[in-house]
Amino acid sequence: MIPLDRILLSSLMLLSVHSAHAVEGQKIFTQGGAQPAAMACVSCHGADGLGLAAAGFPRLAGLPAGYLSKQLEDFRSGSRTSPVMQPLAKALAEDEIRAVTQTLAAMPAPATPVITRSATPDGLGERLALRGAWDRQVPECVTCHGPGGVGLGQTFPPLAGQSAAYLTAQLNAWRDGTRRNDPDDLMGHIAKSLSAEEVTAVAEYFSKVNSQESRP
């Protein structure tokens, strides 16, 4: 299932990890935490942490540690729900969360092309990404998530390189209110203004943006 180059890449990474935190984090990533319920990340998110698109398991590699640890905290408190992740997050200790999120943040992310807002959008998904839908106060996705959806700071996660299945599921969770762990309801508010067709289109767009050419 997993391409050979991805296995090789993650093996190389294993060898190149040095700091004490990263070593422990790496162990949690590949083998799980001290408690048995804290299952290893690799089993669902892949050896390279890039996720399993078909199953809708998201990419974790290269996501900011602050964003990842907030999600784990939110799974623990129940402000973000997932039958798999909630018990898992509850079984992780604070220092394990710190370690594993730092390891994940340091893992290589897919390269995102530079697509500036001045590019002319092609199709509904890219139009939402680069132009928004301001008649409904929906800002351009890239205004917060950065050019190409590469992500910004610790708060705005990358959209690029996430699978369409994961992005669609999250947008739908924001829409129906089952996910509500964003600051100030910024994302919930936007998702509720999107149509089902727009959700599918914009999720498709960001899932494939990494294969596009840069358009600076």
């Binding site: 001045s118 002319t120 132009r131 301001w134 106060q137 917060c144 950065g146 050019p147 910004l152 508010h189």
Partner: protein, 307 residues
């Protein structure tokens, strides 16, 4: 041929260096803004798909690109980290966010106060000098001003000339009876603004480019920009912030947080009179809305500027 060309070139270089000291549009005081209209049928600018595939369409696209990516497209004229689209949301299309379709038909504008007529080109030059802290602005016939003017003209297609359209500017939010409170504004800032603009208003960058605009400091608008007025910032904030959630702050919160933002240092007003903040206040700020320039707050003189 070469000689004939070089004379105008030298002349234009001279003209540029002379212009460096002058201010394109000295009077930056605000034009009257209509009150917000509820449930108004706002003017609808044309869709991007309607653009013709010719030189006109291309120039509109050039103007659009400059508008949303100003810092990268016109680095010589942007001295801070801002883009036009930071204060004119939705690419200059959105009502109550100083849309270009609301501005373009109001120029040339006559200002009784100094008995002057300002063209749209001068207005754009003013944006570059003050909001973008850009030093000498592009000349009125430059490709930048031309492309931006063409983009604004296109957005205003079929709009009536000289008519104040609903949604023009940032509709005035009246000063609350209690005035404003900077300490309360700081609380609003921390709760609702810092997530994007940073704890110290510094914005957020990816590499060299700002994604979230800085609200004060050396990379923000200068002391001559319209946004330095608390009333203008309050109106902008009320109608446009937090992003995607306009109208969710109370008038009081909008004024409080606008005052908090605009008490911070930013680049000096390029119209600085004889190096004196006091004289600059008297000439340009004393009668220009509500602002803190040249005032003393907690023992500190505001308006000293920052490089």
């Amino acid at each position: 041929m070469i000689l004939r060309l070089s004379f105008p070139l030298v002349f234009s270089l001279l003209a540029t260096s002379v212009q460096a000291a002058s201010i394109a549009m000295e009077d930056q005081s605000q034009l009257q803004t209509p009150a917000a209209v509820s449930h108004a049928q706002y003017f609808q600018p044309p869709a991007e798909s309607e653009l013709p595939n010719n030189a006109y369409g291309k120039m509109v696209r050039d103007g659009y690109a400059l508008f949303v990516d100003t810092k990268r497209m016109a680095p010589n004229f942007v001295g801070n980290g801002l883009n036009c689209s930071n204060c004119h949301l939705g690419q200059g299309r959105v009502a109550n966010s100083a849309p270009l379709w609301g501005a373009y038909p109001m120029y040339p504008a006559y200002r009784q106060k100094n008995d002057k007529v300002n063209t749209f080109a001068e207005r754009l030059q003013g944006c570059f000098q003050f909001s973008m802290n850009g030093g000498t602005p592009p000349t009125a016939d430059s490709k930048e001003i031309t492309a931006l003017s063409v983009y604004a003209y296109w957005l205003a297609s079929k709009a009536p000339l000289g008519v104040e359209l609903p949604g023009r500017g940032y509709p005035e939010v009246a000063k609350p009876a209690q005035g404003y409170d900077i300490a309360r504004g700081e609380q609003v800032f921390k709760a609702q603004c810092a997530v994007c603009h940073g704890d110290t208003g510094q914005g957020q960058k990816l590499g060299q480019d700002y994604v979230m605009p800085p609200l004060w400091g050396k990379d923000s608008y200068n002391w001559g920009a319209g946004m330095h007025r608390i009333n203008t910032a309050a109106s902008f904030i009320k109608h446009n912030m937090p992003l995607g959630k306009p109208g969710t702050l109370s008038d009081q919160q909008a004024w409080d947080v606008a005052a908090f933002v605009n008490k911070h240092e930013r680049p000096q007003d390029p119209r600085l009179v004889e190096g004196s903040i006091e004289k600059t206040r008297d000439k340009f700020h004393a009668n220009d809305g509500v602002n803190l320039y040249g005032q003393t707050l907690d023992g500190v003189l505001i308006g000293q500027g920052i490089r």
